[in-house]
């Protein structure tokens, strides 16, 4: 009888164990351990610099580019947009904590009232809507410029994305995690295929960056774009590169992906806006 009872407990325990997965902090720590083992000479904070953390040649070019950073104009324009009052006399500063200064590291957030992930770009447009202003197109450079200015005022702050005690928040995180690890497109690649399994390896003339630090430096001026753009613009480009139909910028798929990806960079310094080749 006792043996049967123990067997039952063990069986139930094993059954439950198969459904229990790592919590977000364990996920993040596993990634940190993985990359630190893979790149033992790279300091943890250096991962915020993407491939420039471990590609010496690209790093030299990047440092030279930072002497006259191509995103500088976007910061200036963004500041002007940010400080220009809406028709009702209010402004972006009225919508955000601390007047919108030095807060980029707290995004994306999970809005427990709406039950959804809110990225900074979505919050900017929510601010506009609350003040009877038309939303800005999400792939538009004006929105990216405002985001760039807000990121600039947050430089040096440690990324601090929070998953509140709300099952929907954890669900959103898990959805982003599933997206990151799911193969898609005709080429059958997951985000993790390139940025986890193949991180540091060469893809044509470039080396693949690590998932750790991928969300610290947005918006980014990419030489291939000739413009500044948001993380979701890059997500779309990745989708196309693996021959998948891209999701819309600020779709729930991309917002949950950003939530997961940014959480993985918690503790790293925000260094946006950035420049990339």
């Amino acid at each position: 009888m006792i043996r049967t009872r123990y067997s039952l407990i063990i069986t139930i325990g094993l059954g439950l164990a198969s459904f229990v997965h790592a919590d977000p902090d364990s996920d993040r720590q596993s990634l940190v351990d993985y990359y630190q083992t893979r790149f033992p000479d790279v300091e943890l904070q250096e991962f915020a610099n993407g491939l420039y953390a471990f590609d010496e040649v690209a790093r030299e070019q990047w440092i030279a580019m930072e002497d006259f950073p191509p995103y500088e104009i976007a910061i200036e324009e963004g500041e002007e947009y940010f400080k220009t009052p809406f028709a009702n006399g209010k402004g972006y500063a009225d919508c955000f904590e601390n007047g919108g200064i030095g807060i980029r590291q707290n995004y994306p957030q999970f809005d427990t009232e709406a039950g959804e992930v809110v990225t900074l770009e979505l919050a900017i447009n929510q601010c506009r809507a609350a003040n009877d202003e038309a939303p800005l197109p999400y792939l538009d450079s004006e929105l990216a410029a405002i985001s760039a200015y807000m990121a600039y005022t947050s430089r040096g702050n440690a990324i601090k994305v929070i998953i509140p005690d709300d099952p929907r928040a954890l669900q959103a995180y898990e959805a982003g995690k599933q997206f990151y690890y799911s193969r898609r497109g005709q080429l059958n690649f997951a985000c993790s295929s390139c940025h986890l399994q193949s991180a540091g390896l060469s893809l044509r003339a470039d080396r693949l960056s690590t998932a750790l630090g991928q969300a610290t430096h947005w918006p980014v001026y990419r030489s291939s774009w000739g413009d500044i753009g948001t993380l979701h613009k890059r997500f779309r480009e990745c989708n196309v590169q693996v021959r998948a139909r891209p999701f819309e910028a600020q779709s729930s798929e991309f917002r949950t992906l950003e939530y997961f990806l940014t959480y993985m960079s918690n503790g790293l310094e925000l260094n946006g806006p950035g420049s990339r080749r």
Binding site: S30, Y181, N188, A190, S193, R245
Partner: protein
Amino acid sequence: MRIFFILLPAIFVAACGGPGDEPVAAAAAEAPVINTEPSKSYAEAHVAALAAMQIAADKGHAWNTSDQLIKEAAEASDSGDEALAIALADEARIHAALAAAQAEREAATWRNNVISD
């Protein structure tokens, strides 16, 4: 030969896996059966392709190759090349079916790629 190249991604979908092994083998054993018979008309091929593409999109795994193929099929039809239009629309449908199969497979196996689970 053409069919081989069409089915190449399916073989890839079925064969490639992450660090895991058993679920991948199981998925390979359940490789999707996809109708590769040519449609009888462009209208039939077009409707079937759009339906398959909608299924893939609903699963969140649409491929942009189908979008391009269905566009080229419409252009071929407009120019009066019915045979090419059918072939392209059928290919769009096959890509969409592979995308749907990929979605199902990934829903079951994505955790194999996660290093912490």
